[in-house]
C-alpha cells in the first residue's frame, strides 16, 4: 500500500523533500564557518577592497585552490555521486551580463559588505535588519527577471 502512495506523492520525479536535509546540514557547517572566519563581517570586506588585509584573499584563494583540486580529482578518477551518477559541471556561457552585472554586484558588495551567502548568515547571527537587505536583493532579482529581455547580454 505504501508503494502506491509513494509514487503518487513523488510526482514529476522529484526526490522526496526530506532527502534535501543533507544539504541543510552542509549549509549549517558552512554558515558556522562564515561567521567564525568573519567572512560575514562588513569590515573584512572593507579591508579586502582597501588591500589592508590578506584575510579574504586567503579565504577565497584557498577555497578556489582546493575546489580546483576537487574538480580535477573528480575528472581524473571519474568519481561518481553517492548514487552512482556521473558528475557533471555545466559550462558557464559568456555574455555581457558578467561584465555589467558583475560591476553592479561589485558596487553593491562594497556597500552591504555581504554577498548573498553572508546575508543569510548575518540574519541568523542576529542582525535582523539584514532581512530588509535580503528582501531588497530579492526585489533586485525580480526586477532583473522582469527586464531581462531588454538588457544587453
Amino acid at each position: 500500500m505504501s508503494e502506491k502512495q509513494e509514487t503518487n506523492t513523488n510526482t514529476e520525479n522529484h526526490p522526496p523533500l526530506l532527502s534535501n536535509v543533507k544539504y541543510l546540514i552542509v549549509g549549517v557547517v558552512f554558515g558556522i564557518a562564515f561567521v567564525k572566519a568573519e567572512i560575514i563581517s562588513w569590515f573584512r570586506i572593507q579591508e579586502m577592497f582597501r588591500f589592508d588585509s590578506f584575510h579574504m584573499y586567503g579565504v577565497i584563494g584557498s577555497g578556489v585552490f582546493l575546489g580546483a583540486i576537487v574538480v580535477q580529482l573528480i575528472k581524473r578518477f571519474n568519481i561518481k555521486t553517492m548514487s552512482g551518477e556521473e558528475i557533471v559541471i555545466p559550462d558557464k556561457k559568456f555574455h555581457k551580463g558578467q561584465i555589467f552585472g558583475g560591476l553592479i554586484f561589485g558596487l553593491g558588495w562594497a556597500i552591504t559588505g555581504a554577498c548573498p551567502g553572508p546575508l543569510f548568515a548575518q540574519i541568523g547571527a542576529g542582525f535582523g535588519v539584514i532581512f530588509i537587505t535580503f528582501l531588497s536583493a530579492t526585489l533586485g532579482v525580480l526586477t532583473y527577471g522582469y527586464l531581462k529581455d531588454k538588457l544587453p547580454h
Binding site: 543533507k22 544539504y23 552542509v26 549549509g27 558556522i32 562564515f34 561567521v35 567564525k36 572566519a37 563581517s41 562588513w42 569590515f43 577592497f49 582597501r50 589592508d52 584573499y57 586567503g58 577565497i60 577555497g63 582546493l66 575546489g67 580546483a68 574538480v71 559550462d91 558557464k92 559568456f94 555574455h95 558578467q98 552585472g101 558583475g102 553592479i104 554586484f105 561589485g106 558596487l107 556597500i111 555581504a114 554577498c115 548573498p116 546575508l119 543569510f120 548568515a121 548575518q122 541568523g124 547571527a125 542576529g126 542582525f127 535582523g128 535588519v129 539584514i130 530588509i132 537587505t133 535580503f134 530579492t138 533586485g140 532579482v141 526586477t143 532583473y144 527577471g145 522582469y146 531581462k148
Partner: protein, 188 residues
C-alpha cells in the same frame, strides 16, 4: 579546544570548508555550489503563474538550494549565539582610520551598528546601505549569472573563463565603490 573554536578562525580553515563544500555538494547529488540562485527560486516559488520567462522553470528541482541557505542561516544563528568570541573583531588599522574619519564609531561587532540597524533604516545613509545596496547585490548577481560562490569559487575551480571575467568585474566594482563613492556615502 573550545577556546580554539570560539576564536576567529584563520583563513585557511574557511578555505578547507569551502573546498569541502564544493566536493560534498557534487558528491551528494551533482549540485554545483552557488548561493545567489536561491533568490531566483524564492521568486519562482512565490509566483507560480508568472508570465516572466526567467521565473518559469521547475523550481522544485532546485529546492536543495533553499535547504542549503536555510542551513546557512541556522549556522549563522548557532555561531552567533553559542560560539561567540569574547574578544572584539580586529580590524586592520589603516581601514579603521579611514572609516573613523568617515564617521564610523562602532568597531566591536561584525557589522557597524551605526549603519546597519533598524534605527538607521529611516535615515538616507541607512537606506542606501541596507536597501539600495541589497538591491544591487540581487540585481547584479542574477545579471552576472552568479555571485562569489557560483563564479569566484565554483566557476574558477572548474576553470571557466566567463567566471574569471565576472570575478574581475566584482573586484572592479568593489574597488570603485570603496575608494571613490563610499567615502561620500558614509558622510550622508
Amino acid at each position: 579546544m573550545w577556546d580554539l573554536i570560539v576564536q576567529p578562525w584563520p583563513w585557511w580553515v574557511a578555505g578547507i570548508v569551502i573546498g569541502f563544500t564544493v566536493f560534498i555538494l557534487l558528491f551528494m547529488g551533482n549540485k554545483t555550489f552557488g548561493i545567489s540562485s536561491s533568490m531566483r527560486h524564492v521568486c519562482a516559488m512565490c509566483m507560480p503563474s508568472t508570465k516572466i520567462s526567467f521565473f518559469q522553470y521547475d523550481w522544485k528541482k532546485e529546492i536543495w538550494n533553499i535547504f542549503f541557505v536555510i542551513g546557512v542561516l541556522i549556522g549563522g544563528f548557532i555561531a552567533g549565539n553559542f560560539m561567540q568570541d569574547p574578544q572584539q573583531v580586529v580590524v586592520a588599522e589603516q581601514t579603521q582610520e579611514v572609516l573613523k574619519e568617515a564617521g564610523v564609531t562602532d568597531f566591536g561587532g561584525l557589522l557597524p551598528t551605526d549603519i546597519f540597524s533598524w534605527e538607521s533604516l529611516g535615515t538616507l545613509r541607512g537606506f542606501i546601505f541596507i536597501v539600495i545596496g541589497g538591491f544591487m547585490v540581487g540585481f547584479g548577481t542574477r545579471y552576472a549569472g552568479g555571485c562569489t560562490s557560483g563564479h569566484a569559487i565554483m566557476g574558477l575551480s572548474s576553470l571557466q573563463w566567463p567566471s574569471l571575467v565576472a570575478t574581475v568585474m566584482f573586484m572592479v566594482g568593489g574597488i570603485i565603490m570603496t575608494w571613490f563613492i563610499l567615502p561620500f556615502l558614509l558622510t550622508l
